[in-house]
Symmetry: C2
Subunit: 230 residues, 2 copies
DNA sequence: GCAAAAGTGTTAGGTGTACACCCATGA
DNA sequence: TCATGGGTGTACACCTAACACTTTTGC
């Protein structure tokens, strides 16, 4: 069944590596675990897995993300493919990196123990195996461009969030501070947020109103040629 | 030598597909050839090749681009990786797409005959094999974003080019028209172009001055925190 | 002399950015 | 009553976008 010409070609191990990001306490966090086999066993690594023949790439990513977080249907995007000959010291492996954005309130803490996994501040991540640091850098660069032009940051927040939370998220992604008034003006005039009646009182006495992201409204605006931009 | 855990994993065919772009007569062109083996033999296809164990991904791309254009050291960027199970009807193949920007004056016409290749206007490209149309669409989207923020368009032009040529290039990429005065003002005030003493008289009686892109000057500006933007 | 493309400045409107004070509440 | 974070409006600088005429020269 395999065409003749194909059979003359070499085959390779193909893996996915997942840059799983979460947000809490005003900081971006990366899920890191200890590598469970040689080479570099015991070193800090991204979550990864080998591609299987009954899976598309994104299915492999979903499997890996679910295994390490207990969450399904996460937002994910391809970062790029890393294919240098010596990148994996064990064997020639071509690896496709994906980032995934997680709402930490959905995260199942028990998997941390199972997999020796932990959440590390993105800004404080140390040496990871192979080219995983490069994958992380590439992810952050892509994330910065993407969050500026598409409303994907909400994937890092709970369904209901406050404007101070949202602003802190953008500040963490861009590693900068933003003017409160300008931020609120800009995000609210897009009219893609729905103000709720209740408040989050966990971080102040006065409390901050909850908002939700209205995807339908955003899609309508896209149709009319409007663009998200922050 | 191969670690035990790896040996339990499946291996896959890995290929690269190249979106080779050129620019002439105010239009973007894509290099297309006829597929030389089953399945879909004889259909229009991007230039592709299988990854070999002694090559990195970009080396494979260089080999393919050289084979089909006779040009070395081309500008190239990864577009993305396509790994759906049934995308190649012949066998499971994971394919990494790269685009390459070619100066058509360097192009060796003789390879067209050898490979049944031809330059087709990007806007008029018909059905290609597998998911190659998707790869092309993704390329154009990336190219539009990238040319707006980085000076990569020059790779599609000869060493010496005129401002009307450069403007036509941007108009072809964005599929729009630009104001001549605004365009010239913007590109010139970046001070990354060097005006030459001679003119191109092929497209008008008066002739248009040649310019060259000064990469050193651009790199210096980058250091100082300036950004290219058009 | 005329057709055809190259080249050149100004202005108005809109967008981004900087900035300071009052409000609500729990302790 | 006070400390803490939430919430609000304006003014100025800058950038973007719109716009028309003159120049050069080969035919």
């Amino acid at each position: 069944m395999t065409p003749l010409f194909y059979r003359e070609q070499e085959k390779f191990y193909v893996s996915v590596d997942c840059i799983i990001l979460g947000f809490k306490e005003g900081k971006l966090y990366l899920l890191i675990s200890k590598r469970k086999f040689e080479p570099q066993e015991g070193q800090d690594t991204l979550m990864g897995g080998f591609l299987r023949s009954d899976e598309s790439l994104s299915e492999t990513v979903s499997r890996v993300v679910f295994e390490y977080t207990g969450i399904q249907d996460v937002y994910m995007e391809q970062v790029g493919t890393y294919g240098e000959i010596g990148r994996d010291e064990g064997e020639r492996v071509v690896s496709i990196a994906y980032y995934a954005l997680i709402d930490l309130e959905m995260f199942d803490e028990s998997v941390c123990e199972i997999h020796n996994a932990r959440w590390e501040e993105v800004e404080k991540v140390g040496k990871l195996v192979f080219d995983h640091n490069q994958m992380l850098r590439d992810t952050i660069e892509i994330l910065r461009k993407k969050t500026a032009t598409q409303p994907i940051g909400f994937n890092l927040l709970p369904e209901k969030f406050t404007l101070p939370q949202l602003q802190a998220l953008y500040e963490a992604i861009y590693q900068t501070t933003l003017d409160k008034r300008n931020f609120r003006k800009k995000i609210l005039e897009m009219e893609i947020l729905e103000k709720q009646d209740d408040k989050d009182k966990s971080s102040s006495k006065r409390g901050a109103f909850y908002y939700t992201f209205n995807k339908e409204k955003y899609d309508q605006l896209l149709q009319k040629g409007y663009y998200f931009s922050l």
